[in-house]
């Protein structure tokens, strides 16, 4: 099985540690994951802001970069959902500028990380160790577009030492929404205010999600408020082991930002 990592432009640029964790985790599970260097971005920002035509070359580029792989794993629910849900629609409306057949070929191979682990590798216990109190935010696109269900929770429950606590109002949006956070800053901040309050109420030290764009928003607010809760991508928790609890074996550079 040829497995490709779709890192996503946000992780690539701002959260390389999440990518490094994903690679370490998959290799530990026996997957020789590759990184197709031609990949860039799924086009979600353009499409969701109303620039569908600008997203077209990115959709075409995605289909080209990942052609021929058996599985494409993305540590982002939102970007995986963009490819699965929207790429065929963009191709369909592109008047041939984006080849529909190539998009149709690559789209079913795309998995969000927890889907790949649970559905393809059929593991829930990935041998991880993370001795901290953690609460999980499901993120809207994982929850409602991909319908990953309890897969991330099953993975987290199997992590040794991890104390998983429930987040009140977990299924409510954190208020990021890409352009929404900038175009409607007041409502976005009001939404995040409730999210971080619920997170702090759990007594958890870590708020975990499978999407760094939402975590950038929630984490940025938590940090500004000095709330004492940090955010961490699911992959980074699953990559941690008893032998290497801080990821010094796989992470490069400094520790993940709080």
């Amino acid at each position: 099985m040829r497995v490709a990592l779709f890192i996503t432009c946000v992780n690539d640029t701002l959260y390389p540690r999440t990518g490094q964790a994903t690679v370490a985790l998959l290799r530990r599970l026996g997957v020789d994951v590759e990184f197709p260097a031609q990949q860039t971005c799924c086009g979600q920002m353009h499409y969701n802001t109303g620039y569908r035509r600008q997203a077209e070359p990115l959709v075409r580029g995605f289909a080209e970069a990942f052609a021929g792989y058996d599985a494409i794993v993305a540590p982002s629910g939102s970007c995986a959902a963009m490819v699965r849900d929207v790429h065929p629609r963009i191709a369909g409306r592109s008047m041939g500028r984006v080849p529909r057949d190539r998009v149709a070929e690559v789209v079913p191979k795309v998995y969000e990380l927890s889907e790949f682990l649970v559905d393809v590798l059929r593991v829930t216990d990935v041998g991880a160790y993370f001795p901290h109190r953690v609460t999980y935010h499901p993120t809207c696109h994982s929850l409602r577009l991909l319908r990953v269900g309890d897969r991330p929770l099953r993975l987290l429950r199997a992590v040794r030492g991890l104390d998983l606590v429930e987040l009140e109002g977990a299924d409510e949006c954190c208020g990021f929404g890409g352009a929404f956070a900038v175009k409607n800053p007041a409502v976005s901040a009001a939404m995040c205010s409730d999210k971080v309050r619920h997170a702090a109420d759990t007594g958890a030290e870590v708020l975990c999600a499978a999407d760094n764009s939402c975590l950038m928003h929630i984490g940025g607010t938590l940090e500004r408020q000095r709330a004492g809760v940090r955010t961490l991508h699911l992959a980074e928790i699953l990559a941690s082991t008893q032998d290497d609890p801080h990821g010094s074996g796989w992470a490069d550079g400094e520790r993940s930002p709080a």
Partner: protein
């Protein structure tokens, strides 16, 4: 083309109105309580039905088919209504509809009408138009009454006074009821039963004296020309049965072909809107009947932008809406911005896709509505007729961006971002450039980016992008299968 009226004064834009709303603590609390209560009740009511998904799919399919052949069903309806003793009037827009209704009322010689709660008449601003003609319209739905007495505007499709709590309602009753008719009883408390009794006494006087009623309709059955009003209080039924003349203003998309089709919606609507298993007062009437109910019945069929929306292949699904407001009740944006911020009779997610389509994207407010969503998808999930609201929102954003209503700087930035992201080499260069500036981590960014740093820190820029790290290390540590921890998974 005449401007399409949606019955609301315009705010400068959604973000500005919403910002003011987020600081109104009383409003925030009222909305949080109300929306969460209805939301949870709805979820329980829907979970009781094992065939909900099938009903939902049927409801979408029936409406799609009906809209595809709307011309046919409208003529069938007109024929059936006429045959049953009613008269059908066609209104192209709000002004047209208001003029028709005012003339019909004047022809009766009356200067007062009672009203059944109706979105269509809110949409066209009928009360204001009638007032200009010297005709007073009395709202008889409890929540609409609260809004009218408070000289206020509705903020929710189903619960127009959702932004008010009971102590505010008591104050409004005490202050204003006397000006509109029977005054509030002395020593009125804010107990719900006392407030309801005060409204009952006030309204009874109106029901018993009114000669003309104005309503909308939830559905129109084409095969028999029957109109259907679905309500919880019985006040609507008073208006539909007691007066001598009944005038119903109904959007052309409210048609269902047959009674069998209606059955699907009568299951979906009460559970989605009020979380009831069965609707309390479902009134149906077909034309006029000798010695029973109104002697004169007029149906005003309202277009007001609907034909335009129907022409849009993505946007037309909004016309399936049955006005249940489930999307409002689950929307995190509506909950915090309130209904008034949407500047239309139709607030919330459905309003954000309906208003710009009916009204056209002509103002800054209309152009801001498609962006009044984080695209979280909660609205689509609960919609009983499966309107993919996020899909339509994005589609309308495209229209905003294309018609030049978008921000020119945004367009330039999007083009630049596309140019960088199109090519992995360019992306890598941009990332290295950002890395060089990584020690500069501002707490406050200038320009539009200030919207981010007002409440959040900016992310730290890493020493090296993932792609550069991969190129340097080929993915770091040992390859799969090479390390002792390697587990077979394939």
């Amino acid at each position: 083309m005449t401007a399409v009226h949606l019955g609301m004064p315009a705010f400068p834009s959604f973000p500005e109105a919403a910002e003011a709303a987020t600081t109104d603590a009383q409003l925030r609390r009222n909305l949080r309580n109300a929306t969460h209560t209805i939301r949870d009740k709805r979820a329980r009511a829907v979970a009781e039905l094992s065939d909900w998904a099938g009903l939902r799919a049927a409801a979408a399919a029936i409406k799609n088919r009906t809209l595809r052949h709307l011309d046919h069903y409208l003529l069938q309806l007109e024929e059936a209504v006429t045959k049953a003793g009613g008269r059908v009037h066609w209104a192209i827009d709000a002004a047209d509809a208001n003029r028709i209704v005012a003339e019909l009322v004047k022809a009766t010689g009356e200067t007062h009408v009672v009203k059944v709660k109706s979105m269509a008449t809110q949409e066209i601003g009928l009360n204001e138009a009638l007032a200009a003609e010297g005709i007073t319209a009395y709202e008889t739905d409890l929540a609409e009454l609260i809004v009218q007495l408070g000289d206020d505007r509705p903020s929710h499709i189903l619960v127009p006074a959702i932004h008010r709590n009971r102590s505010e309602i008591r104050e409004i009753f005490v202050r204003a009821m006397g000006r509109w008719g029977r005054a509030a009883p002395d020593g009125l408390t804010d107990r719900p039963a006392d407030l309801a009794e005060a409204a009952r006494l006030h309204l009874r006087e109106k029901f018993l004296s009114a000669k003309v009623a104005v309503s909308g309709a939830n559905f129109m059955v084409a095969e028999t020309g029957t109109l259907v009003v679905v309500e919880s209080e019985g006040n609507g039924r008073m208006c539909l049965t007691l007066p001598e003349t009944l005038i119903s203003v109904v959007g052309i998309e409210k048609i269902v072909p047959t009674w069998q089709d209606l059955e699907v919606y009568l299951q979906l609507l009460p559970r989605s809107s009020t979380a009831e298993r069965m609707n309390p007062y479902t009134s149906t009437w077909t034309g006029t009947a000798e010695g029973d109910g109104p002697r004169e019945f007029h149906l005003v069929l309202l277009d007001n932008g609907r034909t335009g929306a129907l022409a849009d292949q993505v946007g037309r699904q909004a016309l399936r809406c049955i006005r249940c407001s489930a999307c409002l009740n689950v929307c995190p944006v509506y909950e915090r911005a309130g209904g008034h911020a949407y500047g239309s009779a139709y607030p919330g997610p459905i309003g954000a896709i309906l208003t710009p389509q009916l009204r056209g994207i002509t103002s800054a407010l209309d152009a801001s509505l498609p962006y009044a969503s984080s695209l979280c998808g909660a609205c689509y999930e609960v919609c009983p007729v499966a309107i993919d609201i996020p899909e339509v929102l994005v589609h309308l954003r495209e229209r905003v961006a294309e018609t030049g209503k978008g921000h020119p700087a945004e367009r330039t930035a999007m083009r630049a971002a596309r140019w960088v992201l199109e090519d992995p080499a360019r992306l890598a260069r941009a990332q290295r450039l950002a890395t060089r500036a990584r020690r500069f981590r501002p707490r406050h960014l200038p320009g539009p980016a200030a919207a981010w740093t007002d409440t959040r820190e900016v992310p730290r820029i890493p020493e090296e992008s993932f792609r550069d790290w991969w190129r340097r290390t080929q993915g770091g540590g040992p390859r799969a299968g090479g390390g002792p921890a390697g587990k077979g998974g394939r």
